[in-house]
């Protein structure tokens, strides 16, 4: 009986203790990763032995991207830590969807990473970004080696939100050997969607493979597609509060073309597209397609994965003598979050990431062409063939005439419009809707999002 009493008391006490311990915040449980020597594997989150006074500044950072990008970014972080022993950077990396899911939950709980990566969707997160203006003024961030045009790609209402970690543009990567085998001429700089379609059909007919792996339907059909109609048009108006065109029929041709190609077997059906997991699994890489859609900064990963000669051509136009619709844009940028307790340190790292030649020799322009002259020149000195291709491609796109106001960023409602568009593309393919009906529907749907 007595034993029972003692046991109950003990159990209850340990329970209460356990509960309070849970609530008392985390104990200092620094994991020592360095016991096995200086080797720090790529998977370890960079927690290092705490030698000095135990006052290491911890920075949290996250990004999305391919394996090539993860490896290079981790190396840069390790380089920075070795040069700044008082800094400890904890990093996480994701695929694109996973990244934004995590980011959104962190936004809601006000615990966004100190340094985080954003793309053209940054207006959604304006409330979370600490602008760099102050750090540029006090010299923490150096912008003396770049131009206003490059700085402008990451500004919002006059405020410098971040610096672009590289500029890119979209194009079509293709396998010249397969083109030759199918007897199709390689694309020229102002080829049209009609020529692209014909190439797809011929390649499929001759070689039995897909003409093209997946395109980014929303960009090729909508955002770029509308800008190809006329120099003055954008899918989203530059003010980002309404659509930048008023004729749904401009969307019809693309939808009709997509349907025709799937029907002919020259383009993967939605099921086959769902099977593509990453760049390494792209049908161009596996040799099951002769072309694919690519952002110029991804060309490197793509060629590395394919391990054979691939070339890049500009995205096809609607009219050979019309606007290209292609623009040079900031691929991504690293932002400082408002939740950061050490924004100054975050700014220092961003400055290093953008300005350090040593860091960028590791990164090799994987996030796009660097915006700093110093870095660009250093990289070009010993650039390999792929890097040069990328530079030439960006130069080519930069030489195209563009409209007065080109919108390279996107409003908050872009994701839902994009998803609806992709759903409608599938409905057109399955014959549930005609291209005309789908075009009208997406136009109305998108317009409603701004009300």
């Amino acid at each position: 009986m007595k034993l029972k009493k003692i046991m109950t008391t003990l159990l209850a006490a340990s329970l209460v203790l356990g509960l309070t311990a849970c609530g008392s915040g985390k104990k200092n449980t620094t994991v020592d990763n360095d016991t096995s020597g200086a080797k720090n594997t790529e998977q370890s989150s960079g927690t290092k032995k705490d030698e000095s006074n135990g006052e290491k500044i911890k920075l949290r950072m996250a990004w999305w991207g391919s394996q090539t990008r993860h490896d290079a970014t981790v190396k840069v972080i390790e380089l920075y830590e070795s040069q700044n022993p008082n800094i400890d950077i904890e990093y996480e990396f994701f695929d694109f969807d996973g990244y934004f899911t995590k980011l959104n939950t962190l936004v809601a709980s006000n615990t966004v990473w100190d340094i985080f990566q954003l793309g053209g969707n940054f207006p959604t997160y304006l409330d979370k970004i600490v602008p760099l203006d102050e750090y540029i003024a006090n010299g923490t961030v150096d912008t003396s080696h770049t131009t206003d045009a490059y700085l402008l790609t990451t500004q919002y209402k006059g405020s410098q939100l971040a610096l672009s970690s590289g500029v890119n543009s979209y194009g079509i990567a293709y396998d010249p050997a397969l083109f030759a085998q199918a007897g199709v001429a390689e694309p020229n700089d102002n080829w049209t969607w009609d020529e692209w379609k014909q190439a797809c059909l011929t390649i499929h007919e001759k070689l039995g493979i897909y003409g093209s792996s997946k395109l980014d339907d929303f960009i090729s059909g909508c955002s770029m597609g509308i800008s190809q109609e006329d120099y003055s048009l954008n899918f989203f108006a530059p003010s980002n509060d309404k659509l930048g065109f008023d004729d749904p029929n401009m969307l019809v041709d693309y939808l009709a073309m997509r349907k025709e190609l799937v029907k002919a077997g020259a383009y993967p059906d939605p099921g086959a597209i769902a099977e593509i997991k990453d760049i390494e699994g792209d049908y161009l890489v596996t040799g099951e397609a002769a072309m694919t859609w690519v952002a110029s900064n991804q060309l490197k990963s793509l060629i590395k994965a394919a391990d054979r000669e691939l070339k890049i051509a500009p995205a096809p136009r609607k009219f050979a003598d019309g606007p290209s619709g292609s623009v040079i844009q900031s691929s991504q940028m690293l932002c400082i979050s408002k939740d950061s307790k050490v924004p100054e340190e975050a700014a220092k790292f961003i400055n290093f990431f953008i300005n350090s030649v040593e860091a960028n020799e590791i990164l090799q322009g994987e996030r796009g062409i660097p915006i700093m002259d110093t870095v660009r020149m250093a990289l070009q000195l010993n650039a390999d063939e792929t890097t040069n291709t990328m530079y030439n491609f960006i130069d080519l796109i930069g030489s195209y005439k563009t409209g007065e106001e080109v919108n390279v960023i996107s409003p908050e409602c872009k994701t839902i419009i994009e998803d609806q568009y992709k759903l409608l593309v599938e409905q057109v393919i399955y014959g549930d809707k005609t291209p005309e009906e789908a075009a009208k529907e997406i136009f109305d749907f998108a317009s409603r999002q701004f009300k």
Binding site: L15, F100, D127, G271, A272, E412, I416, D419, L423, Y430
Partner: protein
């Protein structure tokens, strides 16, 4: 002096009271239940009347979210798709579980081994890994298509065909029949063997004794499994999220996947909350219907009317 003694005694009494001990041990659950279930539910109820989007301050918009639901074609399709999934996957899974359980109640040394073996798929549950394996199995160059092609049948684009995309998802659920099977096996063992012996003497064959004895005796357990599996089937998410992402053309856009997309992809938390509440109501109604119908087919030994 006496007062102090008295107080000490009452404290002692309080500490050793059965209720106190009970509540103390139940406390972790109570805290968890309040913190992770009740409070979020109340918050979500509130958000369902607002346009909360994670980032900005919310506005109260009354019943707008609920009205919007019934005009949303994608939502209505997701309801249809989910009902279809529940309707096919649950009976198939239960039938399969009962069949295996029936086989595994025989007296044999290897029974425990086989039971564990069949239970494994349920242990790994709705995990990402299983879904990825399933995706590979049914991919255009996957195992299933290779088998089909070896049999001389043309390969099938499982995830490219609107009508077929649901099949791999249902099969995956059916494959994870282990937990229902264990419960069925326990139930089967409870049926007195004398019933079967009596039936045998009366000349009943195996099929007859299964229908007339096993099924009625097992009916309370069938009811339990039916309710549990129906509820979990309504909440199916991982398979669709990992394998099909809801496609093609929303053919596998399950309810919970759509809720997730509205919440974490379009940041429409208010709308997603409203959707979750409608889901709760629908699920409660269907569970209620099952319970109501059970009076007609669940046989209770005690003979309570």
């Amino acid at each position: 002096m006496e007062k102090k003694e008295k107080r000490k005694l009452s404290l002692h009494k309080f500490l050793y009271n059965d209720n106190t001990v009970g509540y103390t041990f139940a406390l972790p659950f109570i805290i968890g239940f309040l913190g992770f279930t009740i409070v979020p539910m109340i918050v979500s109820m509130y958000y369902s009347f607002t346009d909360y989007n994670l980032i900005k301050q919310e506005n109260f918009i009354g019943l707008d979210n609920y009205i919007r639901l019934f005009q949303d074609v994608r939502f209505l399709k997701s309801v249809r798709v989910t009902l279809k999934y529940v309707f096919f996957s649950v009976p198939l899974k239960l039938a399969f579980a009962l069949f295996i359980a029936y086989l595994l109640t025989r007296k044999s040394k290897a029974v425990t081994f086989y039971r564990s073996l069949y239970y494994i798929p349920s242990l790994i549950g709705g995990s990402i890994a299983v879904s990825l394996v399933w995706k590979e199995l049914f991919s255009s160059k996957g195992l299933i298509n290779s088998i089909l092609m070896n049999l001389g049948i043309e390969k099938v684009s499982w995830f490219g065909d609107q009508k077929l995309a649901m099949v791999p998802l249902i099969l995956m659920t059916v494959w994870q029949f282990g937990s229902s099977m264990i419960i069925f096996a326990a139930g089967l063992k409870e049926i007195p063997s004398t019933y079967y012996e009596a039936a045998k003497i009366d000349g009943a064959n195996k099929g007859q004794s299964f229908v007339k004895i096993t099924l009625p005796c097992l009916s309370p357990i069938i009811l339990y499994n039916l309710v549990m599996q129906t509820i979990s089937a309504f909440m199916a998410f991982t398979q669709a999220f990992v394998i099909t992402k809801g496609g093609p053309n929303d053919a596998t856009n399950f309810y919970s996947l759509y809720v997730y997309n509205q919440a974490f992809k379009y940041y429409d938390m208010g709308y997603a909350s409203a959707m979750s509440w409608v889901m709760l109501v629908v699920m409660s109604l269907i569970t209620l219907l099952i319970f109501k119908s059970s009076k007609r087919w669940v046989f209770s030994e005690a003979g309570q009317e």
